[in-house]
Amino acid sequence: MDNLNLSVNIGKLKLKNPVMTASGTFGYAREYSEFIDLNRLGAIVVKGISLKPMEGNPPPRICETPCGMLNAIGLQNVGLKNFLKEKLPFLKTLNTKFIVNILGNSISDYVKLSKSLEDSGIEAIELNVSCPNVKKGGISFGTNDKMLAKLISKVRQSAQRITLITKLSPNVSNIPLFAKIAEDSGSDAISLINTIPALAVDIETWKPRLANITGGLSGPAIKPIALRMVWEAAKTVKIPVIGIGGIMNANDAIEFLLAGATAIQVGTGNFVNPCATIDIIDGIESYLKRKSIDDIKNIIGGINGNCTGDNSDN
Protein backbone atom coordinates (compact mmCIF):
# COMPACT_ATOMS: atom_id res chain seq x y z
CA MET A 1 0.00 0.00 0.00
CA ASP A 2 2.96 2.30 -0.12
CA ASN A 3 2.33 3.42 -3.64
CA LEU A 4 -1.21 4.61 -3.29
CA ASN A 5 -2.27 6.14 -6.59
CA LEU A 6 -4.48 9.18 -6.13
CA SER A 7 -3.89 10.73 -9.53
CA VAL A 8 -6.72 11.40 -11.96
CA ASN A 9 -6.95 13.03 -15.37
CA ILE A 10 -9.31 15.82 -16.35
CA GLY A 11 -8.93 16.37 -20.06
CA LYS A 12 -5.22 16.96 -20.63
CA LEU A 13 -4.68 17.90 -17.00
CA LYS A 14 -2.98 15.31 -14.84
CA LEU A 15 -3.88 15.94 -11.23
CA LYS A 16 -1.86 14.47 -8.37
CA ASN A 17 -5.11 13.89 -6.51
CA PRO A 18 -8.81 14.54 -7.11
CA VAL A 19 -9.20 17.37 -4.58
CA MET A 20 -9.69 20.78 -6.13
CA THR A 21 -10.97 24.09 -4.78
CA ALA A 22 -14.24 25.59 -5.98
CA SER A 23 -14.27 28.89 -7.79
CA GLY A 24 -15.09 31.92 -5.68
CA THR A 25 -14.24 30.24 -2.43
CA PHE A 26 -10.48 30.20 -2.73
CA GLY A 27 -9.74 33.71 -3.92
CA TYR A 28 -6.64 33.62 -6.11
CA ALA A 29 -5.07 30.98 -3.83
CA ARG A 30 -2.72 33.33 -1.97
CA GLU A 31 -5.43 33.84 0.67
CA TYR A 32 -4.90 30.24 1.81
CA SER A 33 -1.12 30.14 1.72
CA GLU A 34 -0.93 30.93 5.43
CA PHE A 35 -3.03 27.89 6.24
CA ILE A 36 -2.01 25.10 3.91
CA ASP A 37 0.67 23.89 1.57
CA LEU A 38 -0.97 24.82 -1.72
CA ASN A 39 1.27 22.39 -3.59
CA ARG A 40 -0.56 19.46 -2.09
CA LEU A 41 -3.80 20.32 -3.89
CA GLY A 42 -5.01 18.42 -6.94
CA ALA A 43 -5.92 21.70 -8.58
CA ILE A 44 -6.94 25.23 -7.74
CA VAL A 45 -9.92 26.87 -9.44
CA VAL A 46 -9.68 30.62 -9.09
CA LYS A 47 -12.46 33.17 -8.61
CA GLY A 48 -14.45 33.72 -11.81
CA ILE A 49 -12.81 36.22 -14.20
CA SER A 50 -14.67 38.49 -16.59
CA LEU A 51 -13.27 40.64 -19.41
CA LYS A 52 -13.56 43.84 -17.41
CA PRO A 53 -13.27 44.16 -13.63
CA MET A 54 -16.61 43.84 -11.80
CA GLU A 55 -17.25 45.62 -8.54
CA GLY A 56 -19.86 43.22 -7.18
CA ASN A 57 -23.04 43.70 -5.20
CA PRO A 58 -23.72 45.98 -2.25
CA PRO A 59 -23.69 44.43 1.24
CA PRO A 60 -24.99 42.38 2.93
CA ARG A 61 -23.67 39.82 0.46
CA ILE A 62 -23.85 36.66 2.53
CA CYS A 63 -25.96 35.13 5.25
CA GLU A 64 -26.26 31.78 6.93
CA THR A 65 -29.13 29.31 6.50
CA PRO A 66 -29.62 25.82 7.99
CA CYS A 67 -26.47 23.84 7.09
CA GLY A 68 -25.73 26.30 4.34
CA MET A 69 -25.09 29.87 3.32
CA LEU A 70 -26.38 32.27 0.70
CA ASN A 71 -24.05 34.45 -1.30
CA ALA A 72 -24.63 37.23 -3.76
CA ILE A 73 -21.08 38.46 -4.21
CA GLY A 74 -22.09 39.66 -7.65
CA LEU A 75 -19.12 38.11 -9.42
CA GLN A 76 -16.76 40.75 -8.13
CA ASN A 77 -13.39 40.20 -9.77
CA VAL A 78 -10.29 41.99 -10.94
CA GLY A 79 -10.94 41.39 -14.65
CA LEU A 80 -8.81 39.57 -17.20
CA LYS A 81 -6.01 42.10 -17.51
CA ASN A 82 -5.34 42.46 -13.81
CA PHE A 83 -5.64 38.74 -13.36
CA LEU A 84 -2.90 38.11 -15.87
CA LYS A 85 -0.71 40.82 -14.42
CA GLU A 86 -1.30 40.54 -10.67
CA LYS A 87 -2.60 37.07 -9.89
CA LEU A 88 -1.15 34.76 -12.49
CA PRO A 89 2.53 35.17 -11.50
CA PHE A 90 1.84 33.79 -8.00
CA LEU A 91 -0.20 30.88 -9.36
CA LYS A 92 2.63 30.02 -11.72
CA THR A 93 5.04 29.62 -8.79
CA LEU A 94 2.93 26.77 -7.45
CA ASN A 95 3.63 23.15 -8.09
CA THR A 96 -0.02 22.33 -8.75
CA LYS A 97 -2.47 22.76 -11.57
CA PHE A 98 -4.79 25.72 -11.71
CA ILE A 99 -7.95 26.30 -13.64
CA VAL A 100 -9.36 29.69 -14.53
CA ASN A 101 -13.11 30.04 -14.04
CA ILE A 102 -14.57 32.50 -16.55
CA LEU A 103 -17.88 34.29 -16.97
CA GLY A 104 -19.50 36.60 -19.42
CA ASN A 105 -22.77 38.08 -20.56
CA SER A 106 -22.44 37.10 -24.21
CA ILE A 107 -20.85 34.36 -26.22
CA SER A 108 -18.24 36.78 -27.46
CA ASP A 109 -17.18 37.56 -23.87
CA TYR A 110 -16.49 33.88 -23.26
CA VAL A 111 -14.72 33.46 -26.59
CA LYS A 112 -12.43 36.42 -25.97
CA LEU A 113 -11.63 35.25 -22.46
CA SER A 114 -10.82 31.69 -23.44
CA LYS A 115 -8.71 32.77 -26.37
CA SER A 116 -6.66 35.20 -24.28
CA LEU A 117 -6.19 32.63 -21.56
CA GLU A 118 -5.07 29.98 -24.00
CA ASP A 119 -2.66 32.47 -25.54
CA SER A 120 -1.30 33.23 -22.06
CA GLY A 121 -0.43 29.59 -21.62
CA ILE A 122 -3.26 28.69 -19.24
CA GLU A 123 -3.86 24.93 -19.31
CA ALA A 124 -7.51 24.79 -18.30
CA ILE A 125 -10.63 26.89 -17.98
CA GLU A 126 -13.97 26.31 -16.32
CA LEU A 127 -16.99 28.00 -17.91
CA ASN A 128 -19.40 29.40 -15.34
CA VAL A 129 -22.59 29.27 -17.38
CA SER A 130 -24.95 30.33 -14.58
CA CYS A 131 -24.61 33.92 -15.81
CA PRO A 132 -27.37 35.81 -17.60
CA ASN A 133 -27.12 36.26 -21.36
CA VAL A 134 -27.89 39.94 -21.61
CA LYS A 135 -28.65 39.75 -25.32
CA LYS A 136 -31.29 37.08 -24.78
CA GLY A 137 -33.17 38.93 -22.08
CA GLY A 138 -31.00 37.71 -19.25
CA ILE A 139 -31.78 34.01 -19.51
CA SER A 140 -28.97 32.02 -17.97
CA PHE A 141 -26.79 30.21 -20.51
CA GLY A 142 -26.83 27.21 -18.22
CA THR A 143 -30.59 26.63 -18.33
CA ASN A 144 -31.14 26.91 -22.07
CA ASP A 145 -30.05 23.89 -24.09
CA LYS A 146 -29.53 25.65 -27.42
CA MET A 147 -27.68 28.61 -25.96
CA LEU A 148 -25.43 26.31 -23.95
CA ALA A 149 -24.56 24.19 -26.99
CA LYS A 150 -23.69 27.26 -29.01
CA LEU A 151 -21.64 28.81 -26.22
CA ILE A 152 -19.50 25.74 -25.66
CA SER A 153 -18.97 25.07 -29.38
CA LYS A 154 -17.79 28.61 -29.99
CA VAL A 155 -15.40 28.52 -27.06
CA ARG A 156 -14.10 25.15 -28.20
CA GLN A 157 -13.44 26.47 -31.69
CA SER A 158 -11.53 29.47 -30.49
CA ALA A 159 -9.43 27.69 -27.88
CA GLN A 160 -8.69 24.22 -29.14
CA ARG A 161 -5.78 23.21 -26.94
CA ILE A 162 -7.04 24.32 -23.55
CA THR A 163 -8.76 21.82 -21.24
CA LEU A 164 -12.35 22.97 -21.26
CA ILE A 165 -14.56 22.28 -18.26
CA THR A 166 -18.20 23.31 -18.34
CA LYS A 167 -19.71 24.03 -14.93
CA LEU A 168 -23.38 23.10 -15.03
CA SER A 169 -26.21 24.99 -13.38
CA PRO A 170 -28.34 22.91 -11.00
CA ASN A 171 -31.35 24.96 -11.95
CA VAL A 172 -32.66 22.56 -14.62
CA SER A 173 -35.17 19.70 -14.72
CA ASN A 174 -32.93 17.41 -16.67
CA ILE A 175 -29.24 17.25 -15.78
CA PRO A 176 -28.43 14.39 -18.18
CA LEU A 177 -29.60 16.54 -21.09
CA PHE A 178 -27.27 19.38 -20.17
CA ALA A 179 -24.40 17.02 -19.37
CA LYS A 180 -24.77 15.48 -22.82
CA ILE A 181 -24.88 18.90 -24.48
CA ALA A 182 -21.66 19.84 -22.74
CA GLU A 183 -20.00 16.63 -23.89
CA ASP A 184 -21.28 16.83 -27.45
CA SER A 185 -20.30 20.47 -27.81
CA GLY A 186 -16.69 19.75 -27.01
CA SER A 187 -16.16 20.03 -23.25
CA ASP A 188 -13.32 17.91 -21.88
CA ALA A 189 -15.11 17.60 -18.55
CA ILE A 190 -18.11 18.91 -16.67
CA SER A 191 -18.27 20.18 -13.11
CA LEU A 192 -21.41 20.48 -11.00
CA ILE A 193 -23.15 21.91 -9.16
CA ASN A 194 -23.05 25.64 -8.95
CA THR A 195 -25.09 27.25 -6.14
CA ILE A 196 -28.90 27.00 -6.08
CA PRO A 197 -30.85 30.28 -6.22
CA ALA A 198 -32.42 30.91 -2.83
CA LEU A 199 -33.84 33.51 -0.47
CA ALA A 200 -33.79 34.30 3.24
CA VAL A 201 -35.96 36.91 4.94
CA ASP A 202 -35.34 38.87 8.11
CA ILE A 203 -38.65 38.72 9.96
CA GLU A 204 -37.79 41.74 12.12
CA THR A 205 -36.96 44.18 9.33
CA TRP A 206 -39.16 42.53 6.64
CA LYS A 207 -36.21 42.74 4.29
CA PRO A 208 -34.39 40.01 2.41
CA ARG A 209 -31.20 39.14 4.27
CA LEU A 210 -29.15 39.97 1.16
CA ALA A 211 -29.15 43.34 -0.55
CA ASN A 212 -29.47 41.52 -3.87
CA ILE A 213 -32.67 39.84 -2.52
CA THR A 214 -31.75 36.32 -3.75
CA GLY A 215 -28.43 34.54 -3.53
CA GLY A 216 -26.87 31.18 -4.23
CA LEU A 217 -27.23 28.40 -1.65
CA SER A 218 -24.09 26.37 -0.93
CA GLY A 219 -22.83 24.09 1.81
CA PRO A 220 -23.90 20.74 3.33
CA ALA A 221 -27.59 21.52 2.76
CA ILE A 222 -27.18 21.03 -1.00
CA LYS A 223 -24.96 17.96 -0.85
CA PRO A 224 -27.72 15.38 -1.48
CA ILE A 225 -29.00 17.37 -4.47
CA ALA A 226 -25.50 17.72 -5.89
CA LEU A 227 -24.80 14.02 -5.39
CA ARG A 228 -27.94 13.08 -7.28
CA MET A 229 -27.03 15.35 -10.16
CA VAL A 230 -23.43 14.11 -10.29
CA TRP A 231 -24.69 10.52 -10.32
CA GLU A 232 -27.14 11.28 -13.13
CA ALA A 233 -24.49 13.12 -15.13
CA ALA A 234 -21.79 10.47 -14.65
CA LYS A 235 -24.14 7.77 -15.92
CA THR A 236 -24.78 9.84 -19.04
CA VAL A 237 -21.43 11.08 -20.27
CA LYS A 238 -18.02 9.56 -20.89
CA ILE A 239 -16.01 12.69 -20.07
CA PRO A 240 -14.94 13.12 -16.44
CA VAL A 241 -17.41 14.63 -14.00
CA ILE A 242 -16.20 16.89 -11.20
CA GLY A 243 -18.45 16.82 -8.15
CA ILE A 244 -19.18 19.99 -6.17
CA GLY A 245 -21.63 20.82 -3.41
CA GLY A 246 -21.41 20.69 0.35
CA ILE A 247 -18.18 18.74 0.57
CA MET A 248 -16.86 19.34 4.08
CA ASN A 249 -14.75 16.27 4.79
CA ALA A 250 -13.28 13.12 3.28
CA ASN A 251 -16.47 11.12 3.74
CA ASP A 252 -18.41 13.64 1.69
CA ALA A 253 -15.74 13.56 -1.01
CA ILE A 254 -15.84 9.75 -1.13
CA GLU A 255 -19.62 9.85 -1.55
CA PHE A 256 -19.13 11.91 -4.71
CA LEU A 257 -16.39 9.64 -6.04
CA LEU A 258 -18.60 6.58 -5.45
CA ALA A 259 -21.44 8.38 -7.23
CA GLY A 260 -19.20 8.74 -10.29
CA ALA A 261 -17.15 11.89 -9.87
CA THR A 262 -13.55 11.67 -11.08
CA ALA A 263 -12.58 14.67 -8.97
CA ILE A 264 -14.25 16.98 -6.48
CA GLN A 265 -14.20 20.64 -5.55
CA VAL A 266 -14.42 22.07 -2.05
CA GLY A 267 -16.22 25.39 -1.75
CA THR A 268 -17.95 26.58 1.41
CA GLY A 269 -15.98 23.98 3.35
CA ASN A 270 -12.87 26.14 2.95
CA PHE A 271 -14.51 28.97 4.89
CA VAL A 272 -15.47 26.77 7.81
CA ASN A 273 -12.08 25.08 7.85
CA PRO A 274 -9.34 26.63 5.73
CA CYS A 275 -7.44 23.32 5.90
CA ALA A 276 -10.45 21.33 4.63
CA THR A 277 -8.84 20.39 1.31
CA ILE A 278 -5.73 18.95 2.97
CA ASP A 279 -7.81 17.11 5.58
CA ILE A 280 -9.82 15.63 2.71
CA ILE A 281 -6.73 14.43 0.83
CA ASP A 282 -5.41 12.82 4.02
CA GLY A 283 -8.82 11.33 4.77
CA ILE A 284 -9.17 9.80 1.32
CA GLU A 285 -5.74 8.23 1.71
CA SER A 286 -6.65 6.69 5.06
CA TYR A 287 -9.92 5.41 3.65
CA LEU A 288 -8.21 3.73 0.71
CA LYS A 289 -5.64 2.16 3.04
CA ARG A 290 -8.35 0.92 5.39
CA LYS A 291 -10.19 -0.61 2.44
CA SER A 292 -6.96 -1.99 0.92
CA ILE A 293 -7.54 -0.16 -2.34
CA ASP A 294 -4.39 1.08 -4.05
CA ASP A 295 -5.83 3.25 -6.80
CA ILE A 296 -8.45 5.96 -6.38
CA LYS A 297 -9.85 5.04 -9.78
CA ASN A 298 -11.15 1.85 -8.23
CA ILE A 299 -13.73 3.67 -6.19
CA ILE A 300 -14.96 6.09 -8.85
CA GLY A 301 -18.52 5.17 -9.76
CA GLY A 302 -18.51 2.43 -7.14
CA ILE A 303 -22.21 2.61 -6.36
CA ASN A 304 -22.98 1.43 -9.84
CA GLY A 305 -20.83 -1.59 -9.33
CA ASN A 306 -18.71 -0.66 -12.35
CA CYS A 307 -15.49 -0.24 -10.47
CA THR A 308 -12.83 -2.80 -9.93
CA GLY A 309 -11.99 -2.05 -6.31
CA ASP A 310 -11.87 -4.89 -3.83
CA ASN A 311 -14.91 -4.07 -1.83
CA SER A 312 -15.53 -7.51 -0.45
CA ASP A 313 -14.65 -6.91 3.16
CA ASN A 314 -17.69 -4.75 3.82
Binding site: T25, Y32, E55, P58, I62, C67, G68, M69, N71
Partner: protein, 255 residues
Protein backbone atom coordinates in the same frame (compact mmCIF):
# COMPACT_ATOMS: atom_id res chain seq x y z
CA UNK B 1 0.49 35.02 10.44
CA UNK B 2 -3.05 33.75 10.78
CA UNK B 3 -3.70 30.19 11.74
CA UNK B 4 -6.37 27.56 11.92
CA UNK B 5 -6.04 26.17 15.42
CA UNK B 6 -7.71 24.49 18.32
CA UNK B 7 -8.00 26.03 21.72
CA UNK B 8 -9.08 24.96 25.18
CA UNK B 9 -11.77 26.90 27.01
CA UNK B 10 -10.28 28.19 30.25
CA UNK B 11 -13.23 30.20 31.52
CA UNK B 12 -16.58 31.14 30.06
CA UNK B 13 -18.63 33.21 32.44
CA UNK B 14 -21.55 35.60 32.36
CA UNK B 15 -20.75 39.24 33.13
CA UNK B 16 -24.46 40.00 33.04
CA UNK B 17 -27.56 38.43 31.55
CA UNK B 18 -26.39 39.05 27.97
CA UNK B 19 -22.64 39.42 27.90
CA UNK B 20 -20.07 36.71 28.48
CA UNK B 21 -16.34 36.64 28.97
CA UNK B 22 -14.52 33.78 27.27
CA UNK B 23 -10.89 32.94 27.92
CA UNK B 24 -9.16 30.37 25.75
CA UNK B 25 -5.70 28.85 25.48
CA UNK B 26 -4.55 27.88 21.97
CA UNK B 27 -3.22 24.33 21.80
CA UNK B 28 -0.38 25.46 19.57
CA UNK B 29 1.69 28.57 19.17
CA UNK B 30 -0.22 31.39 17.50
CA UNK B 31 0.60 34.89 16.43
CA UNK B 32 0.21 37.61 19.03
CA UNK B 33 -2.73 39.77 17.92
CA UNK B 34 -2.55 43.52 17.71
CA UNK B 35 -5.27 45.87 18.98
CA UNK B 36 -8.46 45.73 16.92
CA UNK B 37 -7.81 42.32 15.40
CA UNK B 38 -10.36 39.54 15.59
CA UNK B 39 -10.72 35.77 15.50
CA UNK B 40 -13.30 33.43 14.00
CA UNK B 41 -14.76 31.00 16.57
CA UNK B 42 -16.72 27.86 15.68
CA UNK B 43 -19.76 27.60 17.94
CA UNK B 44 -20.44 23.90 17.33
CA UNK B 45 -19.09 20.89 15.48
CA UNK B 46 -22.39 20.24 13.66
CA UNK B 47 -23.19 22.01 10.40
CA UNK B 48 -25.98 24.02 12.02
CA UNK B 49 -24.75 26.65 12.68
CA UNK B 50 -22.29 26.26 9.85
CA UNK B 51 -19.90 29.19 9.81
CA UNK B 52 -17.45 30.40 12.41
CA UNK B 53 -18.37 33.68 14.12
CA UNK B 54 -16.09 36.76 14.29
CA UNK B 55 -15.11 38.22 17.67
CA UNK B 56 -12.59 40.92 18.50
CA UNK B 57 -10.11 39.88 21.11
CA UNK B 58 -10.36 41.79 24.35
CA UNK B 59 -7.12 40.94 26.11
CA UNK B 60 -4.09 38.81 25.41
CA UNK B 61 -2.01 37.25 28.14
CA UNK B 62 0.74 34.62 28.02
CA UNK B 63 -0.78 32.06 25.65
CA UNK B 64 -4.30 33.13 26.63
CA UNK B 65 -6.82 35.17 24.67
CA UNK B 66 -9.96 36.75 26.08
CA UNK B 67 -13.17 37.63 24.29
CA UNK B 68 -16.29 39.48 25.26
CA UNK B 69 -19.45 38.36 23.53
CA UNK B 70 -23.11 39.21 23.61
CA UNK B 71 -25.74 36.51 23.16
CA UNK B 72 -27.46 37.24 19.84
CA UNK B 73 -28.61 34.11 18.00
CA UNK B 74 -27.81 30.50 17.33
CA UNK B 75 -24.03 30.68 17.48
CA UNK B 76 -23.61 32.78 20.59
CA UNK B 77 -26.48 30.85 22.17
CA UNK B 78 -24.33 27.72 21.85
CA UNK B 79 -21.12 29.44 22.89
CA UNK B 80 -22.54 30.35 26.26
CA UNK B 81 -22.70 26.63 27.03
CA UNK B 82 -19.00 26.02 26.26
CA UNK B 83 -17.89 24.09 29.32
CA UNK B 84 -14.48 24.65 30.81
CA UNK B 85 -11.94 22.40 29.10
CA UNK B 86 -13.86 22.14 25.83
CA UNK B 87 -11.71 22.12 22.71
CA UNK B 88 -12.93 24.61 20.13
CA UNK B 89 -11.89 25.41 16.55
CA UNK B 90 -10.70 28.91 15.73
CA UNK B 91 -8.89 30.90 13.08
CA UNK B 92 -7.04 34.18 13.36
CA UNK B 93 -5.89 36.71 14.18
CA UNK B 94 -7.40 38.66 11.29
CA UNK B 95 -7.93 42.27 10.28
CA UNK B 96 -5.60 45.23 9.96
CA UNK B 97 -6.00 46.37 13.57
CA UNK B 98 -5.98 49.99 14.75
CA UNK B 99 -3.15 52.03 13.32
CA UNK B 100 -1.14 53.32 16.26
CA UNK B 101 0.90 56.45 15.77
CA UNK B 102 4.16 56.98 17.56
CA UNK B 103 3.82 60.73 17.66
CA UNK B 104 2.12 63.25 19.90
CA UNK B 105 -1.41 62.65 18.69
CA UNK B 106 -3.89 62.05 21.50
CA UNK B 107 -6.10 59.01 21.15
CA UNK B 108 -9.80 59.33 21.92
CA UNK B 109 -11.43 55.92 21.97
CA UNK B 110 -15.17 55.55 21.53
CA UNK B 111 -17.09 52.32 22.18
CA UNK B 112 -20.74 51.47 21.89
CA UNK B 113 -22.09 48.18 23.28
CA UNK B 114 -19.85 45.18 22.70
CA UNK B 115 -17.61 47.45 20.64
CA UNK B 116 -15.88 47.86 24.00
CA UNK B 117 -14.03 44.56 23.43
CA UNK B 118 -12.22 45.85 20.38
CA UNK B 119 -11.67 49.27 21.94
CA UNK B 120 -10.26 47.89 25.18
CA UNK B 121 -7.74 45.80 23.25
CA UNK B 122 -6.29 49.15 22.20
CA UNK B 123 -7.01 51.15 25.37
CA UNK B 124 -4.80 48.94 27.55
CA UNK B 125 -1.83 49.54 25.31
CA UNK B 126 -1.95 53.32 25.26
CA UNK B 127 -0.55 55.89 27.68
CA UNK B 128 -2.29 59.25 27.48
CA UNK B 129 -5.79 58.48 26.36
CA UNK B 130 -9.46 59.26 26.59
CA UNK B 131 -12.40 56.90 26.41
CA UNK B 132 -16.08 57.45 25.72
CA UNK B 133 -18.19 54.38 26.34
CA UNK B 134 -21.92 53.99 26.01
CA UNK B 135 -24.50 51.27 26.36
CA UNK B 136 -28.28 51.06 26.49
CA UNK B 137 -28.50 50.44 30.22
CA UNK B 138 -26.19 50.05 33.18
CA UNK B 139 -26.69 46.34 32.85
CA UNK B 140 -24.98 46.31 29.50
CA UNK B 141 -21.94 48.23 30.64
CA UNK B 142 -19.08 45.87 31.37
CA UNK B 143 -15.52 45.96 32.69
CA UNK B 144 -15.88 49.36 34.31
CA UNK B 145 -13.33 48.35 36.98
CA UNK B 146 -10.85 47.49 34.31
CA UNK B 147 -11.36 50.81 32.62
CA UNK B 148 -10.91 52.64 35.91
CA UNK B 149 -7.64 50.86 36.53
CA UNK B 150 -6.32 51.61 33.06
CA UNK B 151 -5.37 55.13 33.90
CA UNK B 152 -6.97 57.16 31.11
CA UNK B 153 -9.76 59.69 31.39
CA UNK B 154 -13.14 58.23 30.61
CA UNK B 155 -16.76 59.23 30.14
CA UNK B 156 -19.64 56.84 30.36
CA UNK B 157 -23.23 57.15 29.30
CA UNK B 158 -26.33 55.00 29.15
CA UNK B 159 -29.39 55.67 27.04
CA UNK B 160 -31.66 55.32 30.03
CA UNK B 161 -29.48 57.26 32.46
CA UNK B 162 -29.03 54.20 34.70
CA UNK B 163 -25.30 54.93 34.92
CA UNK B 164 -23.09 57.85 33.96
CA UNK B 165 -24.55 60.49 31.70
CA UNK B 166 -27.84 60.07 29.94
CA UNK B 167 -27.73 59.79 26.19
CA UNK B 168 -25.64 58.49 23.38
CA UNK B 169 -21.90 58.51 22.85
CA UNK B 170 -22.20 61.10 20.13
CA UNK B 171 -23.52 63.60 22.68
CA UNK B 172 -20.56 62.84 24.91
CA UNK B 173 -18.30 63.37 21.92
CA UNK B 174 -19.75 66.83 21.33
CA UNK B 175 -19.27 67.64 25.02
CA UNK B 176 -15.70 66.38 24.83
CA UNK B 177 -14.96 68.55 21.84
CA UNK B 178 -16.27 71.69 23.54
CA UNK B 179 -14.45 71.00 26.79
CA UNK B 180 -11.13 69.98 25.24
CA UNK B 181 -10.65 72.70 22.65
CA UNK B 182 -7.02 73.08 23.74
CA UNK B 183 -6.02 69.60 22.59
CA UNK B 184 -8.66 68.85 20.01
CA UNK B 185 -6.40 69.48 17.02
CA UNK B 186 -4.13 66.66 18.23
CA UNK B 187 -6.93 64.21 18.88
CA UNK B 188 -7.41 61.11 16.74
CA UNK B 189 -10.53 59.03 17.22
CA UNK B 190 -10.78 55.22 17.27
CA UNK B 191 -14.35 53.99 17.33
CA UNK B 192 -16.13 50.66 17.42
CA UNK B 193 -19.84 50.04 17.87
CA UNK B 194 -23.14 49.92 16.00
CA UNK B 195 -23.11 51.36 12.50
CA UNK B 196 -25.48 54.30 13.21
CA UNK B 197 -23.22 55.34 16.09
CA UNK B 198 -20.11 55.16 13.90
CA UNK B 199 -21.81 57.17 11.20
CA UNK B 200 -22.82 59.87 13.61
CA UNK B 201 -19.35 60.05 15.19
CA UNK B 202 -17.66 60.26 11.84
CA UNK B 203 -19.94 63.12 10.91
CA UNK B 204 -19.17 65.03 14.10
CA UNK B 205 -15.47 64.34 13.63
CA UNK B 206 -15.49 65.65 10.12
CA UNK B 207 -17.42 68.80 11.15
CA UNK B 208 -14.71 69.43 13.71
CA UNK B 209 -11.80 68.49 11.48
CA UNK B 210 -10.84 65.57 13.67
CA UNK B 211 -9.28 62.54 12.02
CA UNK B 212 -10.39 59.12 13.06
CA UNK B 213 -10.85 55.45 12.39
CA UNK B 214 -13.83 53.15 12.69
CA UNK B 215 -13.77 49.39 13.07
CA UNK B 216 -16.63 48.01 10.97
CA UNK B 217 -18.66 44.82 11.11
CA UNK B 218 -20.22 42.85 8.27
CA UNK B 219 -21.51 39.29 7.90
CA UNK B 220 -18.47 37.09 7.42
CA UNK B 221 -18.03 33.62 6.03
CA UNK B 222 -14.25 33.20 6.09
CA UNK B 223 -12.59 36.09 7.91
CA UNK B 224 -9.44 35.95 5.80
CA UNK B 225 -10.30 37.57 2.49
CA UNK B 226 -11.41 34.60 0.42
CA UNK B 227 -15.21 34.86 0.17
CA UNK B 228 -15.62 38.59 -0.59
CA UNK B 229 -18.74 38.38 1.57
CA UNK B 230 -17.82 41.16 3.98
CA UNK B 231 -17.46 43.96 1.46
CA UNK B 232 -18.27 47.54 2.47
CA UNK B 233 -18.50 50.53 0.20
CA UNK B 234 -15.51 52.85 0.46
CA UNK B 235 -14.20 55.71 -1.62
CA UNK B 236 -11.82 53.14 -3.16
CA UNK B 237 -14.68 50.83 -4.13
CA UNK B 238 -15.78 47.76 -2.21
CA UNK B 239 -13.24 46.68 0.37
CA UNK B 240 -13.21 43.62 2.59
CA UNK B 241 -13.90 44.37 6.23
CA UNK B 242 -11.86 41.32 7.23
CA UNK B 243 -8.77 42.16 5.20
CA UNK B 244 -8.47 45.84 4.18
CA UNK B 245 -10.40 46.51 7.44
CA UNK B 246 -11.82 46.07 9.92
CA UNK B 247 -10.41 49.53 10.61
CA UNK B 248 -10.99 52.24 8.00
CA UNK B 249 -10.32 55.99 8.15
CA UNK B 250 -13.61 57.86 8.62
CA UNK B 251 -12.95 59.72 5.40
CA UNK B 252 -12.79 56.54 3.36
CA UNK B 253 -16.09 55.00 4.37
CA UNK B 254 -19.19 55.54 2.24
CA UNK B 255 -21.96 55.35 4.84
Amino acid sequence: MSKNFQARVITNSALNSKIYLLEIAPLEETTVPSPGQFYMIQPDSSFDPLLKRPFSYLRKKANRIQFLYAIRGKGTGLMKNFPQGKIINMTGPFGNGYPVHNDNRIPLLIAGGTGIASILSLYCELNKKYLIYGAKTRDELVLIDEIEKSGGEFFICTNDCSYGKKGMVDELLRDFISSHQDIISSVVIYACGPKPMLKSISKIASENNIKGFASLEENMACGFGACLGCAVKTKKGYQRVCKEGTVFPFAEIVW
